[in-house]
């Protein structure tokens, strides 16, 4: 450690590891009601976590939520990018996860064929 710059570089690197404790960044929310779990929400979630790990996206938060009443469309997965509407995807399969993360989470392109709802004000 020789300078303030060295320390700042180290800090950037370490910050990612405790990013979960800041309530910021993009959120991926997965419906984990009984219906969701039965439809394979755990598998979708594992796929999300794997993909985030592969892409080293430490600033993306993964949260779960309960049943929102659209049980036939489970697994439901929402993406909220800061300052953008909350987008809900339905009938999500683990195989869809790569596409959602690459197109929407990273590049901000909504995948229209999977969308079932939009909601303004991403705050949950």
């Amino acid at each position: 450690m020789k300078s303030l710059e060295d320390l700042k570089v180290l800090r950037e690197k370490l910050q990612a590891d405790i990013r979960v404790r800041e309530n910021d960044g993009t959120k991926i929310i997965i419906g984990m009601g009984t219906c969701g779990i039965a439809a394979g929400a755990r598998e979708v979630m594992t796929a999300v976590l794997d993909e985030l790990a592969v892409r080293k996206l430490k600033n993306v938060q993964v949260q779960q939520t309960g049943c929102i009443g659209m049980c036939e469309k489970e697994v439901l997965l929402d993406v909220v990018r800061p300052g953008e509407p909350r987008i809900t995807y339905g009938n999500v399969k683990p195989t869809d996860v790569k596409r959602i993360i690459a197109d929407h989470v990273i590049n901000g392109h909504i995948i229209e064929d999977l969308v079932i709802g939009k909601m303004d004000g991403g705050e949950i």
Binding site: M1, L4, L7, Q15, I18, V20, G33, L49, A53
Partner: protein, 596 residues
Amino acid sequence: MQHIRAHVLVCGGTGCMSAGSGKVIENFKTEIEKKGLSDEVMVVETGCHGFCEHGPLVIVYPEGTFYCRVTPEDVKDIVETHLYKGRIVERLLYHEPLSLEAVPSYKDIGFYKKQERRVLANCGRINPEAIEEYIALGGYEGLAKALTTMTTDEVVEEVKKSGLRGRGGAGFPTGLKWSFAKAAVNEKKYLICNADEGDPGAFMDRSVLEGDPHKVLEGMAIAAYAIGSDEGYIYVRAEYPLAIKRLRVAIAQAEKLGFLGENIFGTGFNFNLHIKEGAGAFVCGEETALMASIEGRRGMPRPRPPFPAVAGLWGKPTNINNVETFANVPLILQKGADWYCTCGTEKSRGTKVFALTGKINNTGLAEVPMGITMREIIYDIGGGVINGKKFKAVQIGGPSGGCLPESMLDLPVDYDSLISAGAMMGSGGLVVMDEDTCMVDVAKFFLNFTQSESCGKCTPCREGTKRMLEILTRITEGNGHDGDIELLEDMAVNIKDSALCGLGQTAPNPVLSTLKHFRHEYEAHIYEKRCPAHACEKLASYTITDACKGCGICAKVCPVKAIAGDPKRKHVIDPIVCIKCGACMAACPFKAIVKG
């Protein structure tokens, strides 16, 4: 490796540990393993959150859900319901004492709302045994900035400009103190951190050391650079084993990464730190006694001058600051004195950590901006007096401080207004007392503490506090006589003037402040032989009211057979035989016995 999506922060402070958080952490690890969540959920042991009354505390991120009084048995529920299914476990949330509303999020709890957590910002938020987490939140940036971009004069100037004053009690300007040690000419200078926290009820220094030890190390390294010292000691009491353990871990980590040791940041500045465990004598918090103790001598103060800045540890120029003072320093260097001054009053900048105890709903640690009123601390943060009783007084500043009555609750809390009110900031202990507390008894309690902690070196403290304690004892036992109050006042003033060190000079404060604000209670004890708060046992009298059904239970439990009466008739207590033990009152099924 998988993406870690949730962090479970379990408080590992001494308070929560004694409430069982060790087992809670263990259970979290096994339950998470069982559910197959080990790759996606991380369990972190943190320092103290300050809300010790409600421990063990658990916070789950990213949601920031705040669970309190979590038992090892509750863990399974949190893992299954929250971590697996994403639903909040309602029953474990904090409920506001007045509205009874459940508050899911940390930041919305009344206890935290009015706080300004600067020194305690990382406590409960990071793992104190991981230097990485401290660095991630900006740790050691203040040191880097000071060493690589500022001269030693500039560092001292910045601290002077910040207006930081000693948090250990007396409130001496820190920058000025540093400039004295800096001006001393000697090739060897020492820096000492006074972590000999000893006021009854005060535990802020312990919490900082346990929850964010690196902040203290960083503050010390900056101070050492400023005054030109290459060696430092942390004098910490042996009764703080967890703090000592975490300090040792922190020092080793900081040395490994080059924040302590030789040639720090490549600037040629060296600083090595040692830990000295104190045996727990209260007087060792006094700087000259503390240095004697480090040198291996008996911990007794000596007259000043020479001041430590001229001739301190082993005769070398020495600078001593308290834990909380050092913990403020990194922030001043990192964010600048101007930022630091945005909080507090003109003569008392920044924040102060208070330990709330006594008859208050939310006991714990609260960090507040200077200048906040006592009323806000006690009612908004502390949640008011327990059981809706009437507030009587608050004792501030530990055994050296004083008691403030209700009429002074709107006093702004800063160094100077507290002194003018007859109390002092002290280390920041706040003991709240309700209508059932006898103020003479309180004065006796604190004087008893200082009297037994007096080192005995100077006569005013050794003999004077002993005599004062005898007078207070006889007043509370109903044997006080005319002239006692005047004698107490006379002795108090003389001890203050003539004692050798801070311990003796401030020991009469609790007596003087209670005499100032609650003189009528002393008079009631002496002239009417009664205790207005009904707290002094020797002055109490028990009587049986008409609610008595004559069951005879009281007569059976009375150890001295002072109660007599026919079955199914009202019984009577013989006041001469009665020893005022209160056993009858506790035993009466009809609440027919009253104390007056």
